[in-house]
Symmetry: C2
Subunit: 273 residues, 2 copies
Amino acid sequence: MRRAVFFLSDGTGITVEAIAHSLLAQFDGIDFERQTIPFIHSVGKAWEVVQEINTRCDLDGARPLLFSTLVDPDVRRVIRQSKGFLIDLFDTFINPLEDELGVDSSHAVGKTHGVRNYTAYKERIDATNFAINNDDGVSARYYDEADIIITGVSRSGKTPTCLYLAMNYGLKAANYPITEEDLESNELPALLRAHQAKLFGLTIDPHRLHQIRTERRPDSRYAALDQCLRETRTVEKMFLDHGIPSIDTSTISIEEIVTAIVQKIGLRKRLYG
Amino acid sequence: MRRAVFFLSDGTGITVEAIAHSLLAQFDGIDFERQTIPFIHSVGKAWEVVQEINTRCDLDGARPLLFSTLVDPDVRRVIRQSKGFLIDLFDTFINPLEDELGVDSSHAVGKTHGVRNYTAYKERIDATNFAINNDDGVSARYYDEADIIITGVSRSGKTPTCLYLAMNYGLKAANYPITEEDLESNELPALLRAHQAKLFGLTIDPHRLHQIRTERRPDSRYAALDQCLRETRTVEKMFLDHGIPSIDTSTISIEEIVTAIVQKIGLRKRLYG
C-alpha cells in the first residue's frame, strides 16, 4: 500500500518532518511517499501547493496526508481548501495552549530556526569549529575550554557524537582517540589525566567494530576480530578503573548516544532556539 | 511570567522538543523553564516522572505544561494521572491516522531514532566523514564522489552547512574555500571547473562578514571591511558569471540554508529514518 505525504511548513519543515516521521513509523506495511514543501510564505504559494496536492490526490485516488506547522492564518485557510487529509499541528494545539496560559499567541511565522539570536548562532558555530579542530587527539591545548572530552577506540562513533553535541547542543566537545600506544601502557593517557572530570567513554561491541573496520580496511590487522576484541576489552577496563562514565554505541543512533550522555553527566543544552 | 515545561519521550526527546519549541515560540513574554525527560521506558519510571511533575506543580502553583510523544499505552496512562497540562501528540493524532489509513498502528516504541537500518546509519557516518575529510579545499580527489560542493569566502558558513547536509540528509558535501589566489585570477578555480554542476555558492553580507572575522582575528587585514567588501563582490560576480546557484547566509540559520539548498537543486534526502 502506498500513500503520499506532504510536510508543509513556513520554515524549513524540519520539525514537522520529525513529528510526522514518528507518527508514520507506527504504521507498518505502508509505503509513504514523503515530500517536504518548506518556506510557504504567501497565499499565492499556498494555492500552488493546494494544486499540487489535488493533482496528486486525483492521480493516486487517495487523499494525501498533510502534516502542517504553518502559522499564518491566511496561508492555513488556503491549505484547508485542499483535498488532502490535514493534520494541522498549530491549529490543534495553539488554542488549548492559549487557554491554559491565558494569553494570545503571536501567530508569528518562522520563529523556530531563524538567526534571531546572534549569540546562540555564534555559540553553535564556535562549538562546531571546536569539534572539528579537536578531532584528532593530537593536541590537548584546548581541553581547558572543552565542555566534554569524548574518548574511545577508533570507529566507536566519537566524531559524529562530538559534532552532534556541537551542532544541536552548542557544547564544546573534544575527541581523543585511544591509540595503540595508550592501549599498551594500560594507563589513562597523560593528555587526559588533567581533565578526568570531563571524560566520557564510548564503548562498542567487538563484533560490530570488526564489521565497521572491515568495511573501511578489509583484511587489515586494524579490522581483525582479535584486535577489536583486545582493544575494546582494554578500553572498557580503563574506563572502569578510572570511573569514566561510558555508553555502548553498538546499537543506538547518534541522537540516542548524545541524549544519554547529556543526561548522564547533567550537561545543559546551550541552544533552545 | 514563568511556566515549567516538561518534554516527555520514550526516545531522545528531540522530536517533542522541536515541535513544542515551535509552539512555545508563539507565546511572547513567558519564561518557559524547559526540561527534557528522555527514555521513559517503564511504568516505574513514568511514576517517578509524575512525582516530579506534581512536586513542581505544587512549588510553582501552576500546572507544568507536558509535551509527550510517548507511545506505550501503559506509560501514557500513568502520565495522564499527573497534575500537569498534557499535550499528547501520539494520542491526538494516531487515532485519526488509523481511521484515515484504515489500519491499526503498531504502538511500538522508539522507532524514530534507533539504528534499525544499518545502511542508513553507515551512509550518515560516511557522509559525515566525507564532509570532515573534504573540508579544506586542498584536494579535489574525492569530488567525483561528492553530491554537492559548497563554495564561498572564508567564514561564509561552508563547514557547518556541509556537516548538516551530512548528518541530517546523508549527503556527501565537499567544501571549497575560495582563496586569495582564486580571487585575484577572477576565474573559476581550476579544481572546481570539472565539477561545475555540483557547485553551490554561499554569499554573505560584507558587514556581517566583517563582524564575524573581527571576532576571530581583530584588526587583521583578513577582517577589514574593505577586504570583506572586495571578496564578497568578487565571489558574487564569479557565481553569477558561471551560473552557480547561491544563497545569502547573512541572516538565516544553518537549517534554513540547507533546506533552501536541497530545495533549489533538487537533492533528495537520503535519510528518512
